[in-house]
């Protein structure tokens, strides 16, 4: 199968959908003439022209709102947030408008819009540039939230997101745009709302998404050498959450570690823990443990940044905790 980078996979998804549906357009800062701050939209202005690929002013609230309006009357905007740190400026439009429009109009005006861009820390960008937002948005009814960790999933899910008739938040990462993986040339879609077992195992379930996926898989490999067989679930869609895949896995392994980049408070990890507890209370052989960033703003200096973030070592430690293999 052809090997492609994450940015190519995302670019292909958008281009294919724009070829397929004349109502799809792309708007965001630097997406057109600059080919994207992270080159995700490379070549798209050339192919689709300025009517369909728009460089936006630095007005995140404004152009997210423009997307809502365009979507209400039949277009299918893809709105790029250069990073989701800046997307916070659009939270009013996302939470108060996009998410609620279909509901408060009594089922008349749906908002088929994708808001996509990287989230989480890149490298040494300090506090204002290093945040994840999945939990802040997945808590809002009306939004779907997707967070991808491989080029294959990125392409298949972005295409589904663009075809979805609801507002979809689509989370990527600066650190993964150059990641490579198999991506077929033939068209495929990945359904929203389905987690993917990236590594079957029997001793403990690890749930990860976005940047935490690769570190979790690496940790699983290392743990295998010590005889711990981890099942790694790539959550992929955060809202709606695929409880079925999670519960089935935990029913098998009886142990759960959630690995996420968010701050450890009211995060997706805590939600998963509550649901597992509510539904599988008697199945669990150990408390659910969360690996996440520490509860602190992200510092600039490299060693400080590393110290506060999730890591392979922290994942391994957590797995040993739930399997009572402390050493």
């Amino acid at each position: 199968m052809p090997i492609k980078t994450m940015r190519e996979a995302l670019g292909e998804a958008m281009s294919e959908e724009m070829r397929r549906d004349a109502n799809v357009f792309l708007m965001g800062e630097e997406v057109a003439q600059y080919n994207g701050a992270y080159k995700v939209s490379k070549g798209m202005l050339d192919e689709f022209g300025p009517r369909r690929v728009w460089d936006a002013p630095i007005s995140e609230g404004g152009f997210a709102g423009l997307g809502v309006g365009a979507a209400m009357v039949g277009l299918r905007p893809i709105i790029e947030m250069m990073t989701w740190n800046f997307g916070i400026q659009a939270f009013d439009q996302i939470i108060n408008h996009a998410a609620k429009m279909y509901y408060m109009s009594g089922g008349q005006f749906n908002v088929p819009m994708v808001l996509r861009g990287p989230n989480g820390a890149a490298h040494m960008l300090s506090a204002q540039h290093s945040q994840t937002v999945e939990h802040m948005l997945a808590t809002v009814p009306g939004l779907k939230v997707i967070s991808v960790g491989t080029p294959y999933d990125a392409k298949g899910l972005l295409k589904s997101a663009i075809r979805d008739d609801n507002p979809v938040i689509f989370l990527e990462s600066e650190m993964m745009y150059a990641d490579k993986g198999e991506v077929p040339d033939e068209e495929y879609l990945i359904p929203i709302g389905q987690a993917d077992i990236k590594r079957p195992g029997k001793d403990v379930t690890l749930i990860a998404w976005n940047k935490t996926l690769s570190k979790t898989l690496a940790a699983a490999d290392e743990l295998m050498k010590e005889g711990v067989d981890c099942e790694v679930i790539d959550l992929l869609t955060i809202q709606p959450m695929d409880e079925k895949t999670i519960f089935e896995s935990v029913r098998k392994t009886h142990r759960l570690v959630v690995v996420e980049e968010a701050w450890p408070f009211a995060s997706v990890g805590s939600e998963i823990a509550l649901r597992v507890m509510n539904n599988l209370f008697d199945e669990l052989d150990a408390p659910v443990v969360r690996v996440s960033n520490d509860f602190t703003s992200i510092p600039y200096a490299e060693h400080l940044e590393h110290a506060v973030m999730f890591s392979k070592e922290k994942i391994i430690k957590a797995v040993k905790e739930v399997t009572y293999l402390h050493n």
């Binding site: 002013p57 404004g62 309006g69 365009a70 209400m72 008739d165």
Partner: protein, 325 residues
């Protein structure tokens, strides 16, 4: 003053605008009574006093033009074609409401009539209007989008962002600031530094104008020119319309921050009275006509309330529906 000149508009149009204003007035009065009788609850913002503005604009729109507004928009929604029955039923939280009883007073909607709400976040509708203008341009259509906002909404960041995008990308949107001089209890002069809100457009070299919003004829004639310009040049326009609300900000606001004299000055210029006098003066209507029309309108409005009362409440399952399509 418009009243002095010989009419240039057709009798039909003038009478229609008068009847519309009258309908809007009686409708809101009845809504107010229903609220007082506790037939419904929540916030309730009335358009009483501002009718000339909405009616004068409305008369220039085609059915395929779009409109979007804030929460003071029961009658603007009616003007755009939503049936008064559906608006009243919405207020009563009934299933025949134009948002199936889920939106309420602040959230009137009709996809069919291209009325895009009824919004509760001050200024939030303005970038959405830019998006509608964007879609019109994208599809190379000839419609326009009218976006109403309050004077105090013109202090909102997203209002400016929307104006900038609309001007830069030549989006066919008519932004109308309904300057009723107050944002809730605050005189607009205390929260901005300009005397004229149309100056907001200067920041973007955007076409702009102001109009006396208390006279339906002035509004009609002015808006006609402005809209023709928008359709021709495919450029947005910021129009400041001077108006006044006779009642409090919402039904529960006593409005004590305004002097009785101030309110009186405006009541003396009541758009319905002014227009009625005009019609009589120019022999387009007799006093008897006016009385008859009023009677008819009151009956119609009552019928809408009756309809709303009889409409069933939504099934409880509706509460969980329409989060996702």
């Amino acid at each position: 003053m418009a009243a002095a000149k010989k009419p240039t508009l057709s009798k039909e149009l003038l009478v229609q605008m008068y009847k519309d204003m009258l309908f809007w007035r009686r409708f809101e009065e009845r809504v107010n009574q229903a609220y007082m009788k506790q037939k419904f609850s929540g916030f309730c913002h009335l358009y009483i006093g501002q009718e000339a503005l909405g009616v004068g604009v409305q008369a220039n729109l085609t059915p395929t033009d779009y409109m979007i507004s804030a929460y003071r928009s029961h009658t603007q929604a009616i003007g755009k074609g939503i049936s008064p029955d559906a608006v009243f039923a919405e207020l009563f939280g009934k299933v025949d409401g134009c948002a199936r009883g889920k939106g309420g007073s602040m959230h009137m909607f009709s996809k069919e009539k291209r009325f895009l709400g009824g919004h509760g976040i001050v200024g939030g509708q303005v970038p959405i209007a830019a998006g509608v203008g964007f879609a019109i341009r994208y599809r190379d259509e000839n419609d326009i989008c009218v976006c109403y906002l309050g004077d105090a909404a013109a202090n909102q960041g997203q209002f400016f962002e929307a104006l900038n995008m609309a001007a830069t990308w030549k989006l066919p949107v008519l932004f109308i600031i309904e300057n009723n001089r107050y944002g809730m209890g605050t005189d607009i002069r205390r929260t901005t530094s300009v005397d004229k809100l149309y100056k907001r457009a200067l920041a973007f070299d955007m076409p702009h104008s102001e109009v006396d919003g208390l006279h339906a004829i002035s509004v009609y004639e002015h808006t006609q020119k402005v809209i023709a310009q928008i359709r021709k040049d495919k450029m947005p326009h910021l129009m400041e319309a001077h108006t006044y609300r006779f009642r409090g900000h919402s039904v529960s606001d006593p409005g004590t921050y305004r002097t009785k004299e101030e309110v009186k000055t405006y009541q003396d210029k009541d758009c319905i009275k002014v227009m009625g006098d005009y019609l009589m003066k120019h022999e387009l209507a007799t006093e008897k006509n006016l009385v008859e029309w009023d009677k008819k309108v009151r009956e119609d409005v009552k019928k809408s309330e009756d309809f709303a009362e009889k409409s069933p409440i939504p099934n409880v399952e509706e509460a969980w529906m329409h989060n996702y399509i």
